[in-house]
């Protein structure tokens, strides 16, 4: 199977690798995994509580090229968006952008789940109603 140029570009030059302070009340952390392939992905976002704008996003993914590219792209996309805009990102958007083949669609699902889990964690820290990642996970295309 050949990776698309965009996947290779993100894999070779991943954006926003690293971590944010988990204890910061403005930082939401999402840790998700795809057990079929043993991938694990951590996505963190720092959100301004007044404007609800995502000011910072970091990720660390242990997995295949597509999983790394999906999470790298996700951090690029969420930066500068509001929480609500970021929650509207669908895995199919990632599939389209990275031209992921069908066997790698689960990597994009993982990235979408990670965004939802991280923002769910942030909302919880802010005292908003908890958003359960399992219930918000999208259909699998």
């Amino acid at each position: 199977m050949a990776y698309s140029d965009k996947v290779i570009e993100h894999y070779n030059h991943p954006r926003n690798v690293g971590s944010l302070d988990k204890a910061d009340p403005n930082v939401g952390t999402g840790l998700v995994g795809a057990p079929e392939c043993g991938d694990v992905m951590k996505l963190q976002m720092k959100v301004n509580p007044q404007t609800r704008v995502i000011e910072e996003a970091k990720f660390k993914t242990f997995g295949c090229g597509s999983a790394i590219a999906s999470s790298s792209l996700a951090t690029e996309w969420v930066k500068g968006k509001t929480v609500e805009e970021a929650l509207a990102i669908k895995n199919t958007d990632i599939v389209r952008e990275l031209a992921l083949p069908p066997v790698k669609i689960h990597c994009s699902v993982l990235a979408e789940d990670a965004i939802k889990a991280a923002l769910g964690d942030w909302k919880k820290k802010q005292g908003e109603a908890d958003l359960k990642p399992a219930e918000t996970a999208s259909a699998h295309n």
Binding site: L31, P35, G38, K42, F62
Partner: protein, 234 residues
Amino acid sequence: MSVIRSQDAQTEGIPVTSCWNCRAAVTGAHFCAACGKVQPLPAGASYFAFFGLPQKLTIEPASLEGQFHMLSWKLHPDNFVRASEFERNLSLERSSQLNDAYRTLREPVARVEYLLEHLGVRKEGTTKQQAPPELLEEVFELNESLDELREARAAGGDVAALQGRLEAAQQNFQEDLDDVDAELAGLGREWDAAVDFGGDESTKKALLARMNEVLNRRAYIRNLVAGVQKELGG
């Protein structure tokens, strides 16, 4: 039109067809019992049925190997050099299926994976697998420490100390892997008992789901073991 299906445990679910040569009834057998001609592969037949085995997880390696050699010999394309092209193709098809079936069933883990796939419990990319958060935390941390070791080593850190930490990590992961394999084997025995004593569907379903969970955990640990091995070998 209703399709008659065999009720026999070994050939359960395989449609009863008639021999292409003499029209006698055949149920997934390699050769027609009446005229001895090699038969096409039936749709939906499992690797278990290929060896005439029930869908159970305890398989005696020696008897499987014996069956494999006997069938390899019987189905070998060399036996069909003077047969029709149709029969030569059947022998090729069956021989190649025989190799796949043997390679899969002889490995205990591959056997479980295959059973779950065959029964539609595990299908990559379509069923969403959930991992418990504690497992994800643990796996993430282990991956991170492996990463740290890798970086320190690349930067020329204290190789002897790193080596020691890597070896300790390898031992831990290997023990985890052994535990998981033991758990999988135990579930396999429960599954076999359920098959033998006609366990109800909900019991079987629960067992399949648990085996699937254990396989998921195993995938993480296997990746970690492979990661450490790569570091130690390099």
